[in-house]
């Protein structure tokens, strides 16, 4: 490691500790929005690990998240909570591998369409199983985990995602992914197993999303398919990641924090206009900041440093 890397590493650890201290401040509002931000930080960063380099837009986050919730909801009376989180992660990984193997050989459009329908598909199946088995439509998850613990769990998961992302960027896999993103034909001709590289990353991001769902299940305490498989979740993940900039590991978090603060305020002030605002956000990102905040920072910061 160079001195610069060591310095950055220390700064990151200090920031991490500082952020981890937020629940001790005792403010319920900041803790609650902290949990939301931490959730989307983990989801967006893991989303960008896959979609950033490959340019495949995944809308499957909501499906994985919902599955995680339902694994916990369905098994909480039989198995201890911690084992359920692990089981949820395994189910997410297997499912992501199957989806990846089926769709990632094809062009990006098929993948987007497939993942767009996935959450609704899983929701219909879950609802159908519940009605045919005659169980009620909701499940209770009652544990003694409070917001503070959930927040720390999410931060720990976030730290793992960052470490894995940092490692991938330095590894052969990350290099392969960047080539695939630039030109898939070139990648194939240089002997890169493109399907394998894409599936590995998709499995990682799917597993993380499933675990996030499992971690957040105790927070909702009552799980219903309409809430667990909310289509909004996938879209907000895409927006925050693109707003921050999906090409950089630290991009999504630059998008998540301002977006969630503004979004929290706007959706509280205009509760009926959230879809309309989401639409405007999408258009703004595509037309005004196609490379996200990270792209803007990379473009302007060196200029300013050059001048001073």
């Amino acid at each position: 490691m160079t001195t610069r890397e060591v310095r950055n590493f220390i700064i990151v650890i200090m920031l991490f500790v500082l952020v981890a201290l937020i629940p001790l401040g005792g403010s319920g509002y900041w803790l609650s929005i902290g949990v939301t931000i931490a959730t989307y930080m983990v989801l967006s960063t893991s989303w960008a690990l896959f979609s950033g380099p490959t340019h495949y837009i995944s809308l499957a986050t909501g499906a994985f998240y919902g599955i995680g919730m339902f694994v916990v909801g369905g098994g909480i009376e039989v198995l201890p909570y911690w084992s359920l989180v692990l089981i949820a992660g395994c189910i997410g990984a297997v499912l992501a591998a199957l989806i990846g193997l089926a769709t990632l050989r094809l062009s990006g459009v098929y993948f987007v369409i497939f993942t767009l329908g996935l959450a609704e598909f899983v929701r219909q199946i879950v609802t159908w199983i519940q009605t045919t088995m005659g169980t009620s439509s909701g499940l209770y998850v009652l544990t003694d985990l409070n917001d503070t613990i959930i927040y720390w769990e999410l931060l720990a998961l976030g730290a793992i995602v960052y470490l894995v992302g940092w490692w991938i960027n330095r590894s052969r896999l990350g290099f392969a992914l960047r080539i695939i993103g630039n030109d898939e034909v070139v990648a194939v001709h240089s002997g890169i197993n493109t399907a394998y590289a894409k599936v590995i990353l998709f499995v990682f991001s799917g597993t993380v999303a499933t675990i996030v769902g499992a971690l957040l299940a105790p927070r909702l305490s009552y799980i219903e398919s309409n809430i667990a498989f909310s289509p909004m979740l996938s879209f907000i993940v895409v927006i925050t990641a693109l707003l921050g900039g999906a090409q950089k590991l630290w991009g999504p978090i630059v998008g998540v924090i301002p977006f969630m603060l503004v979004w929290d305020f706007l959706s509280a002030t205009f509760p009926n206009q959230t879809t309309l605002m989401l639409g405007i956000c999408f258009l703004l990102i595509v037309y005004a900041i196609p490379n996200g905040f990270a792209g803007l920072i990379e473009k302007y910061v060196p200029k300013m440093q050059g001048r001073s």
């Binding site: 609802t127 159908w128 879209f235 258009l283």
Partner: protein, 288 residues
């Protein structure tokens, strides 16, 4: 028999929707994920004409389709054409157009939600049972089917027999070569996109005659139209029509035999099978 006829009736309207999307994706090369919202806007238009002015939905199409044409032209000209000009590759355009049409679809949903509210809508138009082979079907469903077939047939003839139809097909095959033989590709793309929107809105008006709808149901129709297009093969109009009936039959079969809540799941299963075994579509040619 009941499944067969029900499926064919449903498939007729699906064929129309998928042809609309086919024009937009095949010719204008825009993967329009706001397609379903244009459809729902058509449904709301027909609903509004019927309840406020007692205009019958079939006649309302005469006003709604040109209105949708103009609206889609504006969307293409001002929101999508800049993206077409900006993008260097087809892949880049796909990502951009997917994101921006998502944005457009959310704006549609938001506006419809603000104007009409979030409830489910339907109206009663010719809900008289009519017997076909011993089973009763609403006359409104039969009229919707006939309307869809007439519009789809007209569109098909126009595309295959007229000069302007030929232009669109040329652009669909190869935009660069089309330019060489003196076709204004920008104009043809804008036309295909707007025409696709008009056809979709007409389909929406027809569907509203027999189905309930709400402001956020569009995505379901987008999914179905996309699945049909992929099932039939991109740029294969004939394949699209066959695939629409396959989907109509599959959905009706699942709804009648298993559970009406699983129709989208059935469509999705079909989609997975196609992706696994015939990614170029039932009638598509092998990619070279």
């Amino acid at each position: 028999m009941e499944i067969l006829i029900g499926g064919i009736l449903l498939g007729g309207t699906y064929a129309l929707l998928a042809m609309g999307l086919q024009l937009q994706y095949g010719v204008a090369r825009i993967m329009n994920l706001a397609n379903g919202e244009v459809l729902v806007a058509g449904s709301f238009g027909a609903f509004w004409f019927f309840t406020a002015a007692q205009v019958n939905p079939v006649l309302a199409i005469i006003i709604l389709a040109p209105a949708a044409y103009v609206l889609n032209w504006l969307i293409y000209r001002f929101l999508l054409q800049p993206l077409v000009k900006r993008s260097k590759t087809q892949g880049h355009l796909e990502v951009d157009s997917i994101l921006s049409t998502f944005g457009i679809s959310f704006i549609f949903i938001g506006l419809l939600h603000t104007i009409f509210g979030g409830e489910y809508f339907n109206y009663e138009y010719l809900e008289i049972p009519y017997e076909v082979f011993g089973e009763a079907y609403g006359i409104n469903r039969i009229i919707a089917f006939i309307g869809a077939v007439v519009i789809a047939a007209g569109l098909f003839l126009w595309l295959s027999k007229t000069r302007s139809g030929l232009k669109l097909r040329a652009v669909s095959v190869d935009p660069a070569s089309a330019r060489l033989v003196g076709i204004d590709v920008d104009k043809a793309s804008a036309m295909a996109f707007s025409l696709g929107g008009a056809v979709t809105a007409a389909g929406g008006a027809l569907i509203s005659m027999f189905d309930t709808f709400d402001a956020s149901i569009g995505v379901v129709f987008t999914m179905k139209a996309l699945i049909i297009v992929i099932l039939g093969g991109v740029k294969e109009i004939k394949g699209t029509i066959v695939a629409a009936f396959v989907l109509g039959l599959a959905e009706t079969a699942v709804a009648t035999l298993i559970d009406p809540g699983l129709t989208l799941a059935a469509a999705f299963l079909l989609f997975i099978l196609v992706l696994l075994f015939r990614p170029q579509g039932l009638f598509g040619r092998e990619a070279s």
